[in-house]
């Protein structure tokens, strides 16, 4: 008789709430009971609020048990959970969990499903089909398909990926590079991490396709050091890909060479900015570069370089395999395809929700998220990381697409959605925006380096009730300067959250107290 398959995620969030202990307890209990199981450490499906989410495969169907703790294991075995037995933790078949089945899983369709560190598991689920097709259709057609898909940079800037690739492909050079930005520093975002932990081969495949499309033989992944588990999993995946001939010289007899090197960041937020990332990849301080020249023309080590986010690259294999027009069929306006939204902060059902662009912020928070964790009313939602505006509750009906968010002075960024309830003092959040910029500024340009420090000071005066109207004017003026004169988005967009607080929550300056850290 085949061993019963039991899935326990090896994914940072699941592990952070005890998944490793659960896996150990299951292995131990199974040994004691003399049952034969095959324990698979999958990625997380993204229903993070249910983690640790354990699954048992029964007659080809996976039965889920949610919020499992080590203390539950004995009773789970007693309830015959290996045969899908009834238990208070039992949720039913994974494929019937509403949170999951209503999503538009394009980039994340294998995450949770497969064993991330098995090439067989990957190829059993369409893995490397995109790459094989790329080799068949040739590099020109690959760039065309990406262009046709309407895919835009998922790191936050939203630049059309096809145009970027075309530029690099058309630039002559003896060496070109693919760089993957996995410096996922925005608070409220974790989709890069989940993809790399749950389906690392998909990123590897996307990078090889990118390399093939533009004529680059070398790829770098710049991964933040705050993700040690991701680092271990991804390094192992690279090794597996090399061992099975999917990375290295003459990949699967295609005549194409490509290899990947993984670099760790070192706790600097600004290194998520593409030119700072390139500097850091060269072993230097993460100081932002002037543009032009664009990285596509003169990037890493002065060579033409594709800089793409993890999700951008991981969306490509399916685009090549299924066709660009299929992907473009999702979404609306100039926001084509899907975005892996991340529900975070004060939310009842936090996790990852991949949906076509166009769903409203309210649907996302209420229908997927189930409202706030505290049960209190939503006061504000910060979308798109620390440089994103605080969207007030009255704007929750805004559709989640790039243009609609620009229209309300906000941005989608990397798809992070951080919910705050009505007990939040928004003046403190405005202060933090400036404080964070002061901590993380690379220091190259004055508006960002000095403006952020002055911003904190002015906000402190306003909170303390000192010349509030005068300081209000000063703060608006400072925001103008930072926005107009900063070199990159760090200083240029820090005013976004600050202005949104001034516009929608000005009364909080009157009721604010000084920073909790003072």
């Amino acid at each position: 008789m085949a061993h019963t398959r039991v899935y326990v995620p090896r994914e940072t969030s699941a592990v952070s709430v005890g998944a490793d202990d659960v896996a150990i307890a299951i292995a131990r209990q199974s040994k004691e009971k003399g049952t034969e199981i095959e324990l698979i450490r999958n990625g997380s499906w993204g229903a993070t609020w249910l983690e640790p989410l354990v699954e048992v495969e029964v007659d080809g169907q996976r039965i889920a048990y949610g919020n499992v703790t080590p203390a539950d294991i004995e009773s789970l075995f007693d309830s015959d959970f290996l045969a899908g037995g009834a238990h208070e933790r039992r949720l039913g078949p994974t494929q019937e969990i509403e949170y999951l089945i209503t999503q538009d899983r394009w980039t994340f369709f294998r995450v949770g499903l497969i064993d991330p560190l098995s090439v067989d598991s990957y190829t059993d689920h369409n893995g490397f089909k995109g790459l094989q097709k790329a080799f068949e259709i040739g590099s020109e057609a690959v760039v065309d398909a990406v262009h046709e898909s309407g895919l835009r940079g998922r790191g936050g800037a939203g630049f059309p990926t096809g145009i970027k690739w075309r530029t690099v492909a058309d630039t002559d050079a003896d060496q070109k590079y693919i760089t993957c930005n996995a410096d996922e520093g925005d608070s409220g975002t974790f989709s890069d991490r989940m993809l790399m932990e749950g389906d690392p081969m998909c990123l590897i495949e996307g990078m090889i396709i990118a390399g093939f499309a533009v004529g680059a033989s070398k790829g770098y992944v710049y991964l933040r050091a705050e993700y040690p588990l991701t680092h271990r999993i991804f390094l192992k995946a690279v090794e597996l890909a090399r061992d099975t001939g999917w990375l290295g010289k003459n990949i699967k007899d295609s005549g194409f060479d490509f290899d990947i090197e993984v670099h760790l960041g070192a706790g600097s937020y600004i290194c998520g900015e593409e030119t700072a990332m390139l500097e850091s990849l060269e072993g230097k301080k993460g100081i932002v570069r002037y543009r032009p020249p664009l990285p596509a023309i003169e990037g890493l080590f002065g060579k033409p370089t594709v800089v793409n986010n993890v999700i951008t690259l991981a969306s490509v294999p399916n685009i090549i395999n299924l066709g660009g027009e299929r992907y473009a069929g999702f979404g609306q306006n100039r926001s084509k395809g899907t975005l892996a939204f991340q529900l975070a902060g004060n939310i009842k059902r936090g996790g990852l929700v991949e949906k076509a662009f166009g769903i409203s912020l309210r649907e996302m928070i209420e229908e997927y998220g189930g409202g706030t964790a505290s049960g209190r009313p939503v006061k504000a939602v910060q979308v798109g990381g620390p440089l994103g505006a605080y969207v007030p509750a009255e704007q929750l009906d805004t559709p989640l697409d790039y243009e609609a968010f620009l229209d309300i002075g906000a941005m989608l960024g990397h798809g992070g959605i951080v919910v705050f309830d009505d007990l939040t003092n928004m003046a403190q959040q405005a202060r933090f925006a400036m404080e964070f910029c002061a901590i993380e500024s690379c220091g190259k340009c004055t508006p960002c380096r000095i403006g952020s420090v002055r911003g904190v000071e002015v906000i402190d005066k306003m909170i303390a009730g000192e010349d509030r109207d005068e300081n209000y004017e000063l703060l608006v003026d400072l925001c103008d300067t930072m926005e107009d004169a900063s070199l990159c988005a760090m200083g240029g967009m820090t005013p976004y959250p600050v202005r949104s607080v001034l516009k929608y929550f000005a009364e909080d300056f009157a009721s604010g107290t000084r920073g909790a850290d003072e």
Partner: protein
Amino acid sequence: MSMTSNGYDSSVASEIIASFDAKPELLIQILHQFLERFTYISKDAIRQLASELNLSRAEVHGVVSFYHDFRTEPPGKHIVKICEAEACQAMGSRQLSEHAQSTLGVDMHQTKDDVTLEPVYCLGNCACSPAVMIDGHTYGRVDAKRFDELIGSMGGEK
């Protein structure tokens, strides 16, 4: 004997540098290995890195001081990082940081009784806020009670 009183060992350092082919563009990756081996970046380390990577000491110092991770003072036996970014703020990380500082009796960025306390801006565990990292392990849904339990179970081992 190449070992100095602060635990720095120049021959081990040389081996680490050599394992990266002494490429200056790998300085940040080498510094990570130094942290793992020596727990912090000493002046001796900066001098040796500059010499063996053919960089100026100013260049190496510049990199070390730019990145938050490269501490230049010895940390405690345990390193406790509390996420203070927005998603965790929305779930009470400000109060958690206060709690940590008062129960551990140490301020942020300081070391006392074997424990170094630091803020971190996002551990990517934002659907399980507030999050903390203790000795390289990320924990989620950490309220004051769970924090105390985690600290209690750190024990002597590392």
